[in-house]
Symmetry: C2
Subunit: 199 residues, 2 copies
DNA sequence: CAGCATTGTTGGCAACGCCTACATTGAGGT
DNA sequence: ACCTCAATGTAGGCGTTGCCAACAATGCTG
């Protein structure tokens, strides 16, 4: 493998090299600052080479977002401890989501961005749906155990999911101080479970 | 005013014309598809004219976002009925926010976007803060009336705000069907108030 | 009415996304 | 072993964009 003197004509794994470099740029300078030509320069290939692997700039962004969903789901799966009672279990999940959101703010924004290619949008929706499903499973299980009230599990999931997503985006955008948000997770989950009305 | 034959040298109100046209493009084709030169063409001025009113493309986007905050706050203020008990009051507000989010999805995405000019970011944060404050006032008032539990009002506000914001972005992004979200508002607010635990 | 700040115009520059034609490579079939 | 061919990378060009500088028209203000 003659890699020391002159780069071989074929890069070998340009596609993943592009994704890695793009992820870095996304993290550092945001999605709008991402340029295919600049990526090509950084990697050391010609300006048209990326076109072989992504028909579009948007196609690359879509791939990045899809990978983000995978990583998010894996993060949540790792953080989830099914042996815990509901409240600490949700608290842990929320913390994990919050950390992911603050660590990957630009990526999260991209994942939730409105303009993806129609077909990529389907994959996106499917990925999001899988994430929601894992939450729905937790809710359904808690219902079975009698830990939480009965009622349309989809609505319960939607409510919990909305709260989690909301706090995560607040943290990612700095609308709520990140550390304050993390500290407030216990309270937030508690409020979600016990409600705001006096008991 | 010689406006019939040849446009006068000065447009008269180019700044607001730009904002209006930009709003339309934003709604139709998204923020990324917005081009200063195209706006200038549509309005009928030279391609450099917008530069007199917005130093940057980002400056125009920032102005658009700030206007969005104003409109959102006005929408919420109009929808708010302080004479109502907490639950229907919150339900009404949530519905209004949901409608705004679905009617102005691209604008909302822009408003919550990460990359604004630093000074514009301050105004942005201030605008968001004002919106949160109006919600905080409702929470505080409900606490005074004994309608909801005591405790750090900031945390209660954060929780409610996160849920509202989450459901709104879900609806705007189509992750939850818009109509389903609207129909679910009653349930969502009810869950927020009563909690998920059995009583 | 003279001067000057405001607002618009023209032209140019570099960068970008995307396209087409061509070059190099590796893998599979005979 | 060869030959073909799809896959991958290169070179160049086109149209558009954001931004800048130099110049022109306008209208306010002393």
């Amino acid at each position: 493998m003659p890699m020391s003197t002159s780069r071989p004509y074929h890069h070998g794994d340009l596609r993943s090299a592009l994704l890695t470099a793009a992820e870095r740029t996304l993290r550092d300078k945001g999605a709008a600052a991402l340029s295919l030509r600049e990526l090509a320069r950084d990697i050391g290939v010609s300006h048209a080479a990326p076109g072989r692997h992504f028909k579009d700039k948007q196609a690359l962004l879509d791939a990045l977002a899809l990978d983000g969903y995978d990583r998010l789901m894996q993060t949540l799966a790792t953080a989830d401890d099914p042996t815990l009672p509901l409240q600490p279990r949700l608290t842990g999940l929320t913390r994990a989501y919050l950390r992911f959101a603050t660590d990957n703010a630009a990526l999260l924004e991209l994942m939730y961005s409105l303009k993806h290619d129609p077909d990529a949008s389907e994959q996106m929706a499917a990925a999001a749906e899988r994430t929601v499903q894992s939450l729905a499973a937790i809710v359904a299980e808690a219902q079975r155990r009698g830990e939480i009230i009965e009622g349309d599990p989809a609505m319960l999931t939607l409510t919990v999911g909305a709260a989690l997503h909301g706090i995560a985006t607040f943290a990612a955008n700095g609308h709520a101080d990140a550390q304050a948000a993390v500290d407030g997770v216990d309270t937030l989950v508690h409020l979600l479970l016990h409600g705001l009305l006096p008991r």
